[in-house]
């Protein structure tokens, strides 16, 4: 019933009958071809840490295979080495902005399905012990009714591990980069004993400055995690 209409524009999907239908298992798709086409997958050379495409970046902000932002993070002894690597699926273009805003601010949970196939493909290539959603504050969680990162995990059929919680609420989008980086630790640990020597994969919807993920990575590494990687739907 659901895949008759595009999850985003609600246009009819139309039956795509081809020879492939007889030979392959039909792939479930939730977006119509014209919406799907507006998503841009990240390809080509990217920063080896944060997955930022290097192609469009001014060469003066590239140092080897890293972007200048990551170089700065890694030069700082307080942050060095905490976040091993980030992988992101799509460029945060206007279309994805609209989609994500409908998904998380309007609370249209089911849009998580639109990404699940691609997310699954990516996650299969990452080795980890725990897959951990970036938590929301209690207020935010009530407001939305769900955690958008947790939903991305659930909709690919995985079980999230709740290793983190927010210490207090902060509206990230209203802050500048410096402010975001220098906020005091926003996460605290739950189930601390489980973390030692584990490979942790953090999940968030968007990587913007990387500050949220690095804060989470730092506290997990300090608790003895073996490594922390992250995956985000969009790379801002």
């Amino acid at each position: 019933m659901l895949s008759e209409h595009c999850l985003f524009c609600h246009g009819e999907m139309g039956a795509r009958v081809s020879w492939a239908c007889f030979f392959e298992e039909a792939e479930e798709s939730f977006l119509c071809p014209s919406c799907e086409a507006q998503l841009t997958e990240i390809q080509g050379e990217t920063c080896q840490i944060c997955c930022r495409p290097l192609e469009k970046l001014d060469p003066q902000y590239i140092c080897g295979d890293l972007c200048y932002d990551c170089v700065r993070w890694e030069e700082d002894p307080e942050w060095k080495g905490h976040l091993q690597k980030n992988a992101s699926l799509y460029l945060y273009n206007n279309f994805l902005k609209e989609l994500i805003s409908q998904y998380k601010f309007r609370g249209d949970y089911i849009l998580a399905k639109a990404f699940s196939r691609k997310i699954n493909e990516k996650l299969r290539r990452i080795e980890y012990d725990y897959i951990v959603p970036i938590p929301l504050s209690a207020e935010r969680q009530f407001e939305r009714g769900f955690n958008q990162s947790e939903a991305l995990i659930r909709e690919v059929g995985l079980s999230p591990a709740y290793l983190l919680q927010r210490t207090h609420s902060e509206k990230q989008s209203k802050k500048s980069r410096t402010e975001r980086i220098h906020i005091p630790q926003v996460f605290e640990l739950r189930a601390e004993s489980e973390i030692k020597d584990k490979k942790i994969l953090l999940i968030d919807d968007i990587y913007t400055t990387g500050s949220t993920l690095r804060h989470a990575a730092k506290i997990l590494m300090q608790a003895g995690a073996k490594s922390v990687m992250s995956f985000t739907l969009a790379r801002g």
Binding site: R106, I110, R124, I131, Q141, F142, R154, S159
Partner: protein, 518 residues
């Protein structure tokens, strides 16, 4: 790869839960429970008890203003949950379930949606259950099965305060056709009746409302004009404010500031109507025909909810759908026609011209010869034209062909970021021909204009769309005529009905002496 879930750590996040206990026949939300009592989400409470009103309770007037005639979500109400609960317990708030179920099928009580494909399920942290939510009206805040709709319970007796001095400040005169309609509208409003004003494009239907609105306002009644398009709200607001200078007017559309204003006259998009509940004594619905049938059902739901149980309902349209036309013919619907424009000239009648398989021509980067000739003629005479096409996707094919004929040709569609600028360029005559999808079928007026449709057989061109498109031509007194050509690859019923409708209106106008014989 390590996706095994055997040693997953599951911790339930503690959030404020929206579940209710039933205490002394009142619903009490979980955070306000003094001792621990079993709670259930709202879906599992069969009825919502409605405590009797306590007249000595000193209620919050701001909350009254916010919720009077509305149906809002908890998220729209800034007051504390304690204060909201106190108003409910003292009988000042009506609580209704956001989603109801009939034979296990969900219905959104706010927007009326019942289509299964417009619902989805999610694990809800508010009620800790699997919650069904409506995707249709999600842009106005999510209504899910644990959501309540909050309304104020009004005390009618205190509410209506009649005015004594006249409120209408308008010095114009009505044409004979308008006068007849105006008198009928007043009568319908007086008698709380349903009434249709069927006025041809360019008849001047807004003026027909003034007397009726005036009557309603004098009685202290709340009046609403609803229209599908924001442009119309923006255009009508200053006009009506000027006509009723002492009356408070709320102008509602997506992103407008007046959202919580409690005004005597509300001018709103039909979409914003969804926030109203038993609010209006007089409801005026403009351009009923602007909706495809499926959308119309949702609209009827919104209108029904926004009206008071006893209220009048005025429909305005240039092109009622065939069902309505039939009801008019059979005498099942009260209506009046204004068959002529105020300038007393007949409506220009469309020509049908067969243009063959124009899709095929387009594949070879050509347009049918007779279409090209029509365009060439406008270019030579320098007369402005709208060129309607059935689909946006055709623009990249068609526009380059037309641009070879003349540089001052542009194309516009609904999502065009430069839509306003292009329409403006057409107004200022910088553009000669504007290629457009059906978005310009109504609302826009250019004084001296010809119109053509390429592919008028497409099903997007319904009878009402075609009448509206034809209605763009000959609007001004200086240029009361013009050419309307429907280039088609096979005549459709909609085309024939549209032309017959125009011819019938001209005939009626002639019989009633509303047009001058040329």
């Amino acid at each position: 790869m390590s996706n095994d879930s055997s040693n997953q750590i599951s911790i339930i996040i503690e959030v404020f839960l929206l579940r209710f206990a039933l205490i002394d026949n009142k619903l009490v939300p979980e955070p306000l429970l003094v001792k621990s009592t079993p709670t259930k989400p709202i879906t599992q409470h069969d009825v919502i008890p409605q405590p009797p009103q306590n007249p000595s309770y000193s209620f919050n007037h701001d909350l009254q203003d916010l919720l009077k005639g509305k149906q809002l979500l908890l998220d729209d109400i800034p007051n504390s949950i304690q204060e909201i609960q106190a108003h409910y317990e003292n009988g000042y708030l009506l609580l209704r379930k956001g989603i109801t179920f009939r034979k296990n099928k969900p219905k959104c009580e706010r927007c009326g949606n019942e289509a299964p494909s417009w619902f989805a399920v999610f694990p809800c942290s508010r009620c800790r259950e699997s919650c069904i939510y409506c995707r249709k009206c999600i842009m106005m805040g999510r209504v899910s099965s644990c959501t309540l709709l909050y309304s104020w319970i009004e005390n009618e007796h205190i509410d209506a305060q009649p005015f004594e001095s006249p409120l209408l400040s308008w010095t114009g005169t009505l044409s004979p056709g308008q006068q007849t309609a105006s008198a009928q509208v007043v009568e319908a409003i007086q008698g709380n009746k349903e009434y249709l004003v069927w006025a041809v494009c360019g008849a001047g239907k807004t003026e027909v409302l003034f007397e009726g609105i005036h009557y309603a306002l004098l009685q202290g009644k709340r009046v609403c004009i609803a229209t599908p398009r924001t442009d119309v709200v923006l255009e009508l607001t200053p006009r009506l404010q000027a006509v009723f200078p002492t009356i408070q007017v709320a102008s509602l559309y997506g992103g407008s500031e007046d959202r919580h204003k409690n005004a005597q006259l509300t001018i709103t998009t039909t979409h914003q109507l969804l926030r109203f509940y038993h609010a209006f004594d007089t409801m005026i619905l403009d351009e009923v025909d602007a909706f495809p049938y499926s959308v119309e059902e949702a609209l009827q739901h919104a209108v029904k909810q926004a009206r008071k149980t006893t209220s009048s309902m005025i429909y305005l349209t240039a092109t009622p759908n065939s069902q309505w036309q039939k009801e008019c013919r059979l005498g099942k619907r009260d209506f009046v026609t204004i068959p002529a424009r105020y300038h007393r000239h007949p409506l220009p009648v469309p020509h049908f011209v067969w243009c063959g398989n124009w899709h095929k021509s387009l594949k070879q980067d050509r347009l049918p010869r007779n279409v090209m000739q029509w365009l060439q003629e406008r270019i030579e005479s320098g007369k402005q034209a709208l060129f309607f096409i059935p689909k946006i996707d055709l623009i990249p094919k068609i526009l380059p062909i037309l641009k070879q004929l003349h540089p001052n040709i542009e194309a516009v569609h609904a999502e065009d970021p430069q839509r306003k600028e292009k329409v403006q360029a057409m107004r200022s005559k910088e553009l000669l021909i504007l290629v457009t999808t059906t978005i310009l079928e109504r609302g826009v007026t250019f004084p001296n204009l010809d119109v053509a449709i390429l592919g008028s057989e497409d099903r997007i061109f319904t009878e009402s769309a075609l009448v509206q498109i034809a209605g763009r031509v000959g609007r001004s007194v200086q240029f009361p005529s013009g050419d309307i050509t429907f280039f088609h690859f096979g005549k459709t019923e909609a085309m024939i009905k549209a032309r017959n409708q125009i011819i019938a209106m001209n005939k009626e106008a002639l019989e009633k002496g509303l047009i001058d014989v040329e």
